[in-house]
């Protein structure tokens, strides 16, 4: 949480800050504040005191005012950052420190945040460059032999191959349809799942796709473009058999999920035993934990309910990263554009099952699969999730779960992410943007320490 801190140091310091010909620094104003990472690149600013005209109300800003920069009246602003975990509490307590007058939010101001209707920002080739795909390939991280499940609306492999300029492999034997869904693996209509498959293969071009069209469910309560969570339960049970069928020493499975629950209307209220959004004991949240424990890397999109330009379907009044999308044993993925800026629709934490969500950010809103038309971007955290899943699948080429558990890999992704704040984790970007070059270097060290 970025903050502006209003201080009232000694009058001579205020006079120095206010003097246009005297250079002052944050260190001249304060020796430090507990729990605040001060931004020493920020030049302190003298803040005049508003004073009502004679006889005016001393507590009202709604009247004619004079402003005094006299040292006995003025104060000084410095800039810093407080950990998101304790932002509100610390901001409330800091004024008890000597010199601190008040703490104010310092929100990001931007001219053109990427939102739902924005044109593409960069291309999938830019994403490949940002993901250091040649460096990954040079290290043998291309996804060869790694099963990568796309749980979505089904994959059209011909479209993916045509857009990538190379063939892609869909494993029909290990793919699975929910009850009532017909259609062959890799031959579904071009739609959301095709976009996800394309985006996953950017970093893991040799991965083997497993087609799980869970969002095509036609069970009672479903519609053409949504499914029911019970089908995801069944899909994950199938994926457990896919994982268990592999030799224990070389086992790997990456599961990409670009979906979630937009509304509490279909759920029981938080606090009720049968609730999904906030309840780790819900059957789907149990099977997610069980599959991860068995060795699967599970990724979920953080969601498109970011405060700046949320999807109109978002109906949770707060904390929109819900259910398995906020599960402590999954990687919850936020979205950034190819300029590294968070897209305005990317959901912000804290999560409901686990506070520290999202985990990391990955690229979205780029020209890629053209699944929605020639000019439409691959967008939403729906695209960011498979982009990150592809990176995970690439790493699994040489690091099966027996060598590096899903939990250990998540920790490495956290540690190596490109931090977008100065205090580590934050609720916009999580630990930062996934950084493949740093991840490769960290894996070299892990490998060296084990030899």
């Amino acid at each position: 949480m970025r903050v502006l801190i209003q201080l009232r140091p000694s009058p001579d310091v205020i006079a120095a800050v206010a003097a246009p010909d005297v250079a002052t620094t944050t260190a001249d104003v304060t020796g430090g504040l507990p729990g605040v990472a001060l931004d020493h690149s920020y030049v302190p600013v003298a803040l005049p005191r508003p004073r009502p005209a004679a006889g005016g109300d001393p507590l009202s800003m709604h009247q004619p005012l004079d402003f005094s920069l006299a040292p006995e009246d003025a104060s000084v602003l410095v800039r810093g950052e407080i950990s998101d975990d304790e932002g509100a509490a610390r901001a409330a307590l800091l004024p008890a420190q000597s010199d601190v007058v008040a703490v104010y939010a310092d929100p990001v101001i931007e001219t053109s945040l990427t939102c739902g209707g924005s044109p593409p920002v960069g291309t999938w080739e830019d994403v490949a460059r940002l993901l250091a795909v040649p460096a990954l390939a040079a290290e043998g991280y291309d996804g060869a032999g790694v099963p990568l499940a796309i749980c979505d609306t089904g994959i059209n492999a011909a479209h993916v191959g045509q857009r990538l300029g190379r063939s892609c492999t869909v494993d029909g034997e290990r793919s699975w349809n929910p009850g009532g869904v017909s259609g062959e693996p890799g031959r579904f209509a071009v739609d959301h799942g095709t976009m996800c498959a394309f985006d996953a293969l950017i970093a893991a071009p040799a991965a083997t796709l497993i087609d799980i069209p869970v969002l095509l469910s036609r069970r009672q309560g479903g519609s053409a473009m949504d499914g029911l969570l019970s089908d995801a339960v069944a899909a994950f049970a199938h994926l457990r058999t896919v994982l268990d069928a592999q030799p224990a020493g070389s086992r790997s499975l990456v599961v990409s999920n670009s979906w979630g629950s937009f509304s509490p209307l279909w759920d029981l209220a938080p606090g009720q035993p049968g609730n999904y959004s906030d309840n780790a004991a819900h059957p789907f949240n149990i099977i997610v934990g069980s599959l991860e424990q068995a060795g699967a890397d599970i990724l979920f999109a953080a969601g498109n309910c970011g405060s700046e330009c949320k999807d109109r379907r978002c109906a949770f009044p707060a904390r929109p990263i819900v259910g398995a999308n906020s599960h402590p044993q999954v990687l919850s993925v936020a979205g950034v554009d190819t300029n590294g800026e968070r897209v305005g629709y990317s959901s912000q934490g804290p999560g409901r099952l686990s506070d520290r969500k999202p985990d990391i950010a990955a690229y979205t809103h780029f020209a890629g699969s053209r699944a929605f038309g020639d000019t439409e971007p691959d967008s939403g955290t729906s695209a960011a999730c498979p982009v990150a899943a592809g990176l995970v699948a690439a790493i699994r080429t040489r690091w099966p779960a027996s060598r590096l558990s899903p939990s250990q890999l998540r920790t490495l992704l956290h540690r190596t992410a490109d931090d977008r704040s100065t205090v580590g984790f934050d609720y916009d970007y999580g630990y930062g943007i996934a950084d493949p070059a740093a991840l490769i270097e960290a894996l070299r060290k892990v490998s060296g320490s084990r030899e």
């Binding site: 739902g116 959301h192 069970r219 029911l228 069944a234 029981l268 035993p273 999109a301 949320k310």
Partner: protein, 75 residues
């Protein structure tokens, strides 16, 4: 329909699950079947009618079966 859970030995059948929960066959989604959630715990899930879900022991549920939707493109 709602989700309920039941603990049974490995290899359990849907019939055994229905019997353990005191449910009739027409109260259970046989097309959905008996789905293993956590093999180590012998924990399974099945779909049942809302009426049947209200009769199962509290530890078994019922659990919500919400609609899930793709997270994109944002609208």
């Amino acid at each position: 329909m709602v989700l309920v859970t039941v603990e049974l030995p490995p290899g359990a059948t849907l019939e055994q699950a229905a019997h353990a929960l005191g449910l009739a066959e027409d109260e259970v989604d046989t097309g959905y079947g008996l789905v293993p959630l956590d093999p180590a715990r012998g924990l399974y899930a099945l779909r049942v009618t809302e009426e049947a879900g209200r009769r199962v022991p509290p530890a078994a549920g019922p659990y919500a079966d919400p609609t899930i939707e793709p997270y994109g493109p944002p609208s």
